[in-house]
Symmetry: C3
Subunit: 337 residues, 3 copies
């Protein structure tokens, strides 16, 4: 895979070598994300951070990753202010906005919208989420986190046993992560969900065809004992036909410290694509896990900055200039990673 | 016209010499907008990009132009979050906000609001659109595009034959462009609109008084054959009393490649202030024109960045420092202009 | 008080020495806010300007203060786009967002929300307003303005006679200012409000316990004659149970030039936390005061930038590096202070 000048639209673009490249560059971004050094490699470059669907976390994460490389960010945060609302095609929007910036991150609720946009864009586009379809940087940061956490525990991604818990039907993050994981070897997938929210056959078949083991269950305790990673998800309320339908499934699987202690192997890693729903009727990951050092959910979002910096640096071909444009930090910094 | 420290509120401020100055500076901005060089001339300067009416394109274009000169942008994107909604006068808003930045671009739906704001502002203000009234940078970028496109075809603005097509009654862009064009000589204006949406007598009279020829028509094919430029507009739905009233006029004039081929002279330039409405019931410029090299609509928005950079540089008196604070570009760039 | 790495959550954190420190640093920020010099001391640093309640003025003021120190700003401007709306706890939001920036300014309508957020944040947090509770930078800029205005008139904060006028019940700015003023000596507080909107006993008792004099009145003219400062407030409509209830109190106290001339001592300073409500039925400070040199309301907001720069510089421990990273200004600047 040649990153320079490329669009990042789907996890399907990535093979193991491409993933390895992204992860190696992400590792090299740590001193900058961690505020040990600053780099000005993208000084003068502009990111069009075009979020046509509300988002704080992903939008700020991309914007921050760009700023950490020294560039400027121009943003939009909703669709109603946009020309799209006045009947403009994605083609036109892309042609226009791509005259304003050096790269575009785009989110839009319509599946396929970002692909359509990218065709007409004159600058590289990263898919920041197109409805229930793709959100490749999320899948990459999840996999990067898995790699790091496994490495810290003396293991690899190959041979991994991962339990996917909750809404496996509508969870975009789960789908993309599954696609990436099938590139590795000898995996065990433990799929824990209510039958109505189980992983679609298409994904299960892909996993099996790639030679991995699949165990399905509708009970939390059953499978988590044999997992290296628990990947827990929120019920994707916004994808259900109505709230009542979504509420039926909220709170079905709740992991807390006592269940963890009783059923999991020591050092089992807990992940979640965030936000976790901490309201009483959901609470899929209890707050009493917050001090558990195996709770990796905030390391995931921290890693997101590294992954996004890596994608930017690769696409704009500045990986080797990051260090030469770097300098020391002037101000007080708390260590974060 | 002395630009330094001035407000840009109306196209009426510009004479031919002032326009020539803006265009010359705009030409010099090309290497920076085109990412061949970066300049840091406004490093440390802050733009207050105050959009009290939704906008993506114009807001991002101004913000990007400022960033390209090395400055920072602070923004607002709606009115409901503002003190104006709590009964604050434009005078107060201007006094306050002008303490935060080095220049302000303001958009507000109320006609005359930006003038009122500018009186109290302690820093230069550019009108980014006040309702149906003025949007001077749009008119300048349209005229700049006309000059460029004509020059590429061995012609001048003097002697130009321009067909204005569609909603000529509510189209702010058309009104401002007409005002600027009357400064030139021996123009032919071909006004094509339904009678109810024709250009108001006040504008027509001004054009005639300035010695230009005017032909009015309610049929697309009639006039476009003799035009150097077709300036097509969207029905300004938001200015109509209701949607039903607006819908009556949508789709009346639709230009596509076969009409273009049959009726237009070769190399007739197609312009549009954008967004074009590409929904089936409107579609004033068909997508089958997208590969027509005479479709200049995206060159217009690209030129907008140059014009806005030029206005900023002239008002802040940094034109001659742009180059001396410039350096090479570190990253991969696609050519855009 | 040790500023480095600290959260700024409440005015209660400040004693006279801490206030003196902030004000001395604020004084040193003047050449930068005034665009006589630029500084790049925070080049590469990122502010998370997290406004989960609409605001233009305060948000832009914080963002601008950070930009003036050379840093970048990432923002959010509403709650509905945020994960909080999907059931995320402040703990989680803080853990996530604090991985993206070097400091966070947070506003949220819920009292105590910012405290809760700060506990989990890995970077320093400044309270930008949590409902009717605290907004410490506003109180500091008010006190800084009082100090400056008094100094210009040969007086000190000690011994000050201040009239607080209007909605003293719901006005957060008034409450915080009172807390700070009680740290000084021999003050006269003249409290002018309708009985229903009088300052709560808790604040009055604190003032008296600190040894200051309190005079209460429900008539404007009564007390303003003996004041050095008139601190006039808007009726905080948004804190009332409904609009009708709020409207009862609008317009009860209206200061204009003729009342000022008749009742006030010469050079009495007029302050207001802004926005002032200039609609006919409110109009607590008439526009005919705009040319009165004692109207300090816009000097207040200008001072806000200095105070916010000072807090940032102190917390990030860069006060002594501001000057050494500074340079001359390239562009045309109007003098503002």
């Amino acid at each position: 895979m040649n990153f320079v000048g490329s669009h990042i639209l789907s996890v399907s673009q990535f093979d193991r070598q491409a993933i390895r490249t992204v992860f190696e560059v992400a590792d090299r971004m740590l001193p900058y994300a961690n505020r040990q050094r600053i780099t000005r490699v993208l000084e003068g470059a502009i990111l069009g951070n075009m979020f046509f669907e509300p988002s704080t976390r992903t939008r700020v994460s991309f914007g921050c990753a760009w700023n950490l490389l020294g560039g400027e960010v121009r943003e939009t945060t909703e669709i109603k202010a946009s020309a799209i609302a006045k009947g403009e095609s994605f083609y036109d929007t892309a042609r226009v906005l791509s005259g304003y910036s050096d790269m575009i991150v785009m989110r839009h609720q319509l599946e396929g919208s970002v692909d359509e946009f990218a065709v007409a864009s004159r600058v590289p586009v990263i898919n920041g989420g197109d409805g229930a379809n793709e959100h490749p940087s999320q899948a990459l940061l999840d996999l990067y986190t898995i790699r790091k956490e496994m490495k810290d525990r003396g293991k690899n991604i190959d041979g991994l046993r991962i339990a996917l818990v909750g809404d496996l039907r509508y969870g975009r993050a789960v789908h993309s992560l599954c696609k990436l994981l099938t590139l590795y070897e000898n995996m065990h997938f433990i799929l824990i969900s209510p039958p109505e929210l189980s992983l679609s056959a298409e994904y299960v078949d892909d996993i099996k065809r790639a030679g991995h083991k699949v165990l399905e269950s509708d009970e939390l305790q059953t499978g988590i004992g044999h997992a290296d990673i628990l990947y827990v998800t929120r019920t994707q309320e916004e994808r259900f036909p109505n709230q009542a339908e979504a509420d039926k499934y909220k709170g079905l699987f709740r992991l807390n410290q006592s269940i963890y202690t009783e059923y999991c192997e020591p050092n089992t890693v807990i992940m979640h694509p965030l936000p976790r729903d901490s309201r009483g009727n959901a609470n899929e990951l209890d707050n009493d896990l917050n001090e558990n050092p195996n709770l990796a959910i905030f390391r995931q979002t921290d890693n997101g900055v590294l992954i996004r910096m890596a994608l930017f640096a690769l696409i704009l071909d500045v990986v080797d200039k990051v260090e030469e444009t770097s300098s020391k930090v002037n101000w007080y910094t708390a260590r974060r990673f």
